[in-house]
């Protein structure tokens, strides 16, 4: 029983980190209607920014995290302006954006490979990982902290979307980008803000994943799991991304704990196929009907 609960908490913790990534990805999808595969790159930027801020610049975790979020946010804006904006201004074929995003993902990942090298780096142990006894189960402080931070971030995002002017604009844009623009929203600025937010959220996820799995340039490939989570929850739906992520995290941890660690990724993939077979729009997804 203890192990079961432990895996549940592990699963929730992992799922909450996935949620940070999946939500950012879904946010971009809901506004621009394409899968930004470069999202993993933002994660990696966040991880490395934090690492270097901690190690080389010697800042504490709070400042390092802030730098990491801001850094990843700006990289996200840069990617958008450099690669996506020229394409979306010329055509509405999302295939081109998709390919460009894949290219950017590879470019970002390999810039790190080429500059700082592909070896695994451990973040300085500023986030406590000591075991915590909850009575019925033992978990690590890290799991509790990452879960807590994820919740805080998601709540902050929710407040941003529901209470601020730009949040309203983003929700409008998610409904219909063109009309939002016609209503006076500065579309380019809105897209930049969306990307900044997505990048910042990915950075938080990246920091926690770096602690969990150590930091290396290909860490971004874990984003595929966040994509799957977003699909399970329903592409374009933020609550769906959260729920899908939790489901995924739990499935992974329960599989790793009770069946086999190797099969984790297979379970992720199977869940994707099952979702597409049974309920392709996901749990909360809206099927965006095309105007004919």
């Amino acid at each position: 029983m203890g192990i079961f609960l432990q895996q549940i908490i592990n699963g929730l913790s992992l799922g909450s980190v996935y949620a940070l990534i999946a939500v950012g990805y879904s946010l971009v999808y809901s506004v621009l209607l394409f899968s930004n595969f470069a999202h993993g790159g933002f994660l990696v930027v966040g991880g490395y920014a934090c690492y270097f801020a901690l190690k080389t610049l010697g800042f504490n975790i709070w400042i390092s995290s802030l730098l990491s979020l801001v850094g990843a946010g700006f990289v996200a804006i840069l990617v958008e302006r450099l690669a996506y904006k020229p394409i979306r201004e010329r055509t509405n074929v999302t295939l081109y954006l998709l390919i460009a995003s894949m290219g950017m993902s590879i470019v970002i990942e390999n810039i790190f490979v080429v500059t700082v090298g592909g070896r695994f780096r451990a973040l300085p142990p500023v986030i406590p990982t000591a075991p915590v006894n909850l009575g019925i189960a033992t978990t690590s402080a890290f799991d509790i902290i990452s879960l807590g931070v994820a919740v805080v971030c998601l709540v902050a995002l929710q407040l941003f979307l529901s209470r601020t002017k730009w949040g309203l604009a983003i929700r409008a844009a998610a409904y219909d980008l063109r009309t939002a623009g016609l209503m006076g929203v500065n579309v380019n600025r809105l897209i930049s803000i969306v990307f900044f937010v997505a990048g910042a959220l990915a950075a938080v996820g990246g920091i926690f994943l770096s602690v969990r799995y150590t930091l290396y340039p290909q860490l971004g490939t874990i984003t595929i799991k966040a994509f799957v989570a977003a699909v399970i929850g329903g592409l374009g739906s933020l609550p769906g991304a959260v729920v899908g992520s939790l489901i995924l995290g739990l499935s992974e941890m329960l599989t790793a704990g009770f069946i086999s660690s190797q099969l984790r990724d297979l379970v992720v993939f199977s869940l994707l196929v099952i979702t597409l077979l049974v309920r392709p729009t996901g749990l909360f997804g809206k099927s965006v009907g095309e105007k004919v």
Partner: protein, 292 residues
């Protein structure tokens, strides 16, 4: 011809066979894939296991491998391709990863991550040339038939295509299955050429390379994809010393082409009189050329 040149050209032909498959899927049917190395892996390992492990004649083993790749493609394709959007792309990444994992972990069957060694060489220059010519001819003939027009219709406007009586889901799956066949054959030949296999020969780098050459050569041009494969294979051979930059270059190629010239080298033109007329001849009347 020196053995070195011969082996380069053999490798080139093998890559071209795979690339033609991806070109059919991405260039002509408009489906983005990021995991076609999975089908090469399936073809390669099935061929090796049947040929070396069960004394199946290599010709049969290759086709068995390709058939297996087709089956897997069909299983993945049916649920994902009836939906428009990025679902297949995401699933393809998951598939490629899963296949790689299975191969790496099923030691008893595939010799695992250490690799499958000592495959007798059956993919000589002449054998590969025969496959290349026949398969190249078949796909050119296919494109210049009602199937070619049907695939292009599904790519250019799936709503219009369905209103012309086309079951677009079926055509998309057909295109995928054919592309998997081509990659499967290429994989099988690769086994017989390199004489050993390792699971990480079929990783993201390989998948990306396949997509990159198709995009670079021109989506919608089969001869363009051959041109792209030739250029990229030769460049990576010549610039072996900078092989660590390969991935970075592939990524950059994808982005730059999408931003500057999404139609790639040849656009939708095949090498031939029409292309020459387009480049050097009298320009057709002014107008906005509709993008697909």
């Amino acid at each position: 011809m020196s053995p070195y040149v011969e082996s380069i050209i053999t490798l080139l032909m093998i890559n071209s066979i795979a690339a033609m498959g991806v070109s059919l899927l991405t260039g002509f049917t408009g489906i983005f894939t990021l995991g076609h190395s999975a089908y090469m892996a399936l073809g390669a390992y099935t061929t090796a296991i049947l040929y070396m492990g069960h004394s199946v004649p290599w010709a049969i083993a290759i086709f068995a491998g390709a058939a297996f790749a087709m089956l897997v493609a069909w299983l993945i394709g049916v649920p994902t391709l009836r939906l428009m959007g990025d679902y297949y792309a995401i699933a393809s990444i998951g598939l490629a990863e899963s296949i790689r994992l299975i191969i790496a972990n099923w030691q008893s069957l595939t010799r695992g991550a250490r690799g499958y060694p000592d495959i007798s060489k059956f993919a000589t220059f002449n054998v590969t040339l025969a496959f290349f010519l026949v398969m190249g001819a078949l796909i050119f003939l296919l494109i210049h038939s009602r199937y070619g027009r049907a695939f292009k219709a599904c790519r250019d406007d799936h709503v219009a295509a369905s209103l012309l009586g086309y079951n677009t889901a079926r055509y998309r799956v057909l295109s995928l299955v054919i592309s998997a066949f081509y990659c499967g054959i290429a994989g099988g030949l690769l086994a017989g050429f390199l004489q050993y296999l390792k699971p990480d020969m079929f990783d993201m780098l390989k998948s990306t390379e396949l997509t990159a050459v198709v995009v670079f050569g021109g989506m919608g041009s089969m001869s363009g994809c051959l041109l792209g494969t030739t250029i990229i294979t030769l460049v990576t051979e010549l610039f072996r010393p900078i092989s660590q930059y390969r991935m970075l270059i592939y990524g950059a190629v994808l982005v730059i082409i999408m931003v500057l010239r999404p139609e790639g080298l040849l656009g939708r033109y095949e090498l031939g009189p029409r292309l020459l007329r387009h480049l050097f001849g009298r320009k057709t009347p002014e107008g906005t050329e509709g993008r697909g």
